[in-house]
């Protein structure tokens, strides 16, 4: 990396080298049967080169190709991409205890044994009425950023992530549990039995005619809402004029029960980071506090374009994956969560006269995201009547607008769960028969259906 940086410094005013190395093994069980073991060891290097107001970018998997790497960034440099940010100076380190050396001793056989245990407990609990799929992924990940401003930050993390799902018949619809740690850990039997209990209650198919009911978004469905909210709170949207939250910092935009934050600095978590992919220090960011919009999130580039302070949210992520080294940093909330409330899930369910728990969604990406609109297939939706779960709904949709929905929060669970996109509790929304009360700047959110959300 140093050789690349040194070469780059000869042709530019400043430069940055990003390096990532991932070594992981994935073990897959389908229908309680071991069906795959895949290992990968990926390394790569990205270079950003600055000269005047120009930016160059290049990447490679092979550090021996450093001359070519620098030449490509230099070629890019003269094509006219403008940039006005400065690479950060040295800071840290911050000890987040995100690496456990025991991960390197973890054997494939031990993980297979654990996944078999998981599948056996699930299968026993559902008594052959559903199939269990489970997968674990474990290994290490290194991220390092150096630049010509003297920055040299690196972080080695270890991870053990496991997912288990109980699939409904004829379907990939499932109830799921995600967990992760910096080393091997077993899922508690009680958590698995809970999942089995909910599954059995959800097995009967229920047909309903109601269009307006209370709705609980589960942690695994929450990304459909967060995706839209993040689109509004991103400095990129702000700069491009497509944020519905422009000019609303300090305004109340959701129910005061809602606090949304991004905290990459939780000690002992496998995905915690003390610097982002540009080397900028990370910190806890309150996006919405008690319903009030507090902050936008940004990377270096959009910070310079919008006048915001860099918030440490420059990550090399693509909407649909992609090789991280091939991507330039973009504003990303990578550690998003909703602050827990004060009710247990059982209490929330008991309070519902008629309602649905949305356990997963289809089509989160298909709506008008800048507007905050959604039209989601329930995947699945569990039906509640008189405070009891009676079964699941098939082929039902739930539609609305995230800004309207987040103003109708009735309760938030007192517990967080890991999902693929963040740490969330279950959140219950009222969907009253009457139009919701007028929102601040209602006209900016109004979508022609009185701000209501519907089941279809």
């Amino acid at each position: 990396m140093e050789k690349i940086l040194s070469l780059a410094a000869r042709v530019g005013d400043s430069a940055e080298v990003f390096h990532t190395e991932l070594a992981e093994t994935e073990i897959i069980f389908e229908d309680s049967t071991l069906t795959g073991i895949n290992s990968t060891h990926q390394r790569g290097y990205s270079l950003r080169l600055r000269k005047g107001d120009r930016l160059g970018f290049s990447y490679t998997k092979n550090p021996a190709e450093r001359f070519d790497l620098v030449k490509k960034a230099e070629t890019f440099l003269y094509k006219g991409v403008m940039a006005f940010f400065t690479f950060p100076k040295q800071h840290g380190p911050v000890e987040l205890f995100s690496f456990d050396p025991l991960i390197e001793e973890l054997s494939v056989e031990r993980v297979i044994k654990e996944l078999k245990r998981v599948c056996a407990i699930i299968s026993g609990s559902v008594q052959g009425k559903g199939q269990c799929n489970s997968a674990a992924c474990f290994g290490t990940k290194l991220a390092r950023v150096i630049n010509t401003n003297g920055l040299d930050v690196s972080q080695l993390s270890s991870f053990y992530k496991v997912t288990c799902q109980i699939l409904f018949p004829n379907s990939h619809e499932s109830l799921r549990h995600n967990s992760s740690d910096i080393c091997f850990s077993m899922i508690t039997e009680s958590r698995l039995l809970d999942l089995g209990r909910i599954y059995k209650a959800a097995l009967p198919i229920v047909d309903i005619k109601e269009r307006e009911m209370d709705v609980i978004f589960s942690p695994h469905a929450m990304h459909a809402l967060m995706w839209r909210l993040q689109a509004g709170a991103s400095a990129a949207s702000l700069y491009e004029g497509v944020s519905r939250l422009k000019g609303m910092t300090g305004d109340k935009i959701t129910s005061d029960k809602i606090t949304i934050l991004d905290d990459p600095g939780v000690v002992g978590r496998p995905d915690s980071r003390w610097f982002d992919d540009e080397g900028v220090p990370t910190s806890k960011l309150e996006l919405i506090k008690k319903g009030v919009l507090c902050s936008f999130f940004t990377n270096l580039d959009y910070a310079s374009k919008t006048g915001l302070e860099p918030s440490g949210h420059g990550y090399r992520n693509g909407m649909w994956g992609g090789d991280p080294i091939s991507l330039q940093p973009v504003p990303t909330l990578s550690h998003c969560s909703i602050l827990p409330g004060d009710k247990s899930l059982d209490e929330m369910i008991a309070d519902i006269r008629r309602g649905v728990i949305i356990m997963g969604v289809l089509g989160a990406h298909s709506g008008n995201i800048p507007n905050g609109d959604f039209s989601l297939g329930l995947n699945p939706g569990l039906y509640i009547e008189g405070g009891k779960m009676l079964g699941r709904l098939k082929n039902k949709m739930f539609s609305g607008n995230v800004y309207n929905l987040l103003n109708n929060v009735s309760s938030i669970e007192n517990k967080l769960y890991e999902s693929d996109y963040g740490l969330y509790p279950h959140v219950c929304f009222d969907c009253p028969a009457d139009p919701v009360p007028a929102l601040p700047r209602q006209s900016r959110f109004g979508q022609g259906v009185d701000g209501k959300s519907f089941f279809r």
Binding site: T40, G44, Y59, N62
Partner: protein, 454 residues
């Protein structure tokens, strides 16, 4: 490269092994609004090793040749761990041994077009969009991906077939009075740069449509007789049916596998569905897949009856069915999985006007906003549509996401038109991104489809 890979392969002790080395050249130019934010070409490469040993089948991928030996050891250990588990002995249906090298037929090789010319073309299309008063911003991207694939297996097969994909896509957002509408237009090709030249009308038309959406009403939710345009029909076929003709998705799902038996009636009599990666001139074209198996046309549904499935070597063995050549990987980080190559519904004899007339009161739905499936249920979004009243297209409407059921919606297909249009872009995210997953069809009339508005 052939000799090098074969030398590495000789170090592996297994019942079957293969190595795919892949070098990916990617050129990307991006404009956000009128600002140039990226322009350059880069290369990544890596190796994927797969090994079958004593019924265990495992993979390992690495970025360096120097890591290849350890990758082979890792794959061997993983295969033995899987074999030791003993519950699921994997077998492979092996293809005939071939030695094949080919280059795609290209109408103008994109590699020979200067970056300045690519940028100029992108700027031209982008300016056609940003020229509309209500367009607030765009993300205009030229993307050129060349996968130089080198494949050897322990049976002696050698395949080298580069896949060259180039496209221009523009995502656009229109806004007025704090309300936004968005859309996307794409031109793309796997057979040369010529196809993405002189396509002004595609981008102009979509910008005009997105602007008009600002004045359109949200679609009232409910059940509709819908007429899908070919792009929507392609996504419908891909999501509603295609994924569950991919054998790996149902191999270990006994209830779905039971329902998806060859000979089962899943669709109406007017529905015949084919996947054909070897069909020339479409974006999903390849001769050989990433397992060195020749891709072939498969009739998946014949007049409503399930008649075929898409396979890898592993699933073909598990099902006792013939190889089809549908195992595809995103890049050198991944082992291949079963993917659609180019799936489409075959045309019928109806005219589009006839289908709209037959719909009576319904909805004419155009251009995809992406879809998703979960077995029985699926959704697919549309960029815009028109209400149909008394058999005639009426006012424009927006905000449509459609939902259907694998075991009923295909039976509700009532007619298909006589044309066939294949998409110019892929973009299926089943575990890995497949930018060449082509889809298409004719116009299609489906009764009683659930439509969610906002």
């Amino acid at each position: 490269m052939k000799q090098t890979l074969r030398a590495y392969l000789s170090l592996v002790d297994g019942d079957y092994a293969d190595i795919r080395y892949e070098r990916m050249e990617r050129t990307r130019i991006e404009l956000r609004g009128k600002e140039l934010t990226e322009i350059g070409s880069n290369v990544t490469d890596g190796y994927v090793v797969r090994l079958l040993k004593s019924g265990g089948f495992a993979t390992a991928s690495v970025t360096r040749a120097s890591d290849l030996e350890s990758a082979m050891k890792r794959a061997t250990l993983n295969a033995l761990a899987m074999a030791g588990d003993g519950e699921n002995k994997v077998g492979l249906t092996l293809p005939p041994c071939v030695e094949h090298e080919s280059l795609p037929k290209l109408d103008e090789d994109p590699r020979a077009v200067f970056p300045e010319e690519k940028l100029a073309l992108l700027k031209n299309y982008n300016s056609l969009v940003t020229g509309f008063r209500d367009i607030i911003t765009t993300s205009a991207v030229y993307e050129e991906t060349i996968r130089y694939r080198y494949f050897v297996n322990s049976m002696g097969t050698w395949v080298h077939e580069p896949l060259i994909t180039s496209s221009i896509s523009i995502r656009m957002v229109a806004g007025r009075d704090g309300i936004f509408q968005n859309g996307r237009a794409v031109v793309g090709s796997s057979d040369g740069f010529l196809k993405i030249r002189n396509r002004d009308e595609v981008f102009q038309k979509k910008a005009e449509t997105v602007t008009r959406l600002l004045d359109a009403e949200p679609v009232p939710s409910g059940r509709y007789n819908v007429v899908l345009n070919p792009e929507m029909a392609g996504v419908f076929i891909h999501e509603a049916f295609g994924h569950f003709s991919e054998a790996d998705l149902i191999e270990h799902n006994p209830s779905l596998r039971e329902k998806m038996k060859i000979g089962a009636r899943l669709g109406s009599g007017c529905l015949t569905i084919v996947d054909d990666p070897a069909m020339e001139g479409q974006i999903g074209f390849y001769r050989f897949d990433d397992e060195g198996v020749e891709g072939r046309r498969v009739v998946l549904m014949d007049q409503g009856i399930l008649s075929g499935r898409l396979h890898s070597m592993r699933t073909a063995f598990a099902y006792g069915e013939s190889l089809t050549g549908h195992a595809v990987a995103e890049d050198s980080r991944y082992a291949p999985i079963v993917r659609m190559g180019c799936i489409f519904a075959c045309p019928g004899e109806s005219g589009v006007d006839e289908l709209i007339s037959k719909a009576g009161d319904g909805l004419y739905v155009l251009d995809s906003k992406g879809g998703q499936t979960s077995g029985e249920s699926f959704t697919f979004g549309a960029q815009y549509g028109y209400l149909i009243r008394n058999g005639k297209p009426g006012p424009m409407v927006r905000d449509m996401n459609l939902m259907g059921n694998l075991f009923s919606t295909l039976l509700d297909v009532e007619g298909v038109s006589s044309e066939l249009v294949i998409s110019e872009t892929g973009g299926c995210g089943k575990g890995q991104m497949n930018i060449r997953s082509a889809m298409g069809g004719p116009h299609m009339l489906i009764r009683n489809v659930k439509v969610g508005g906002v």
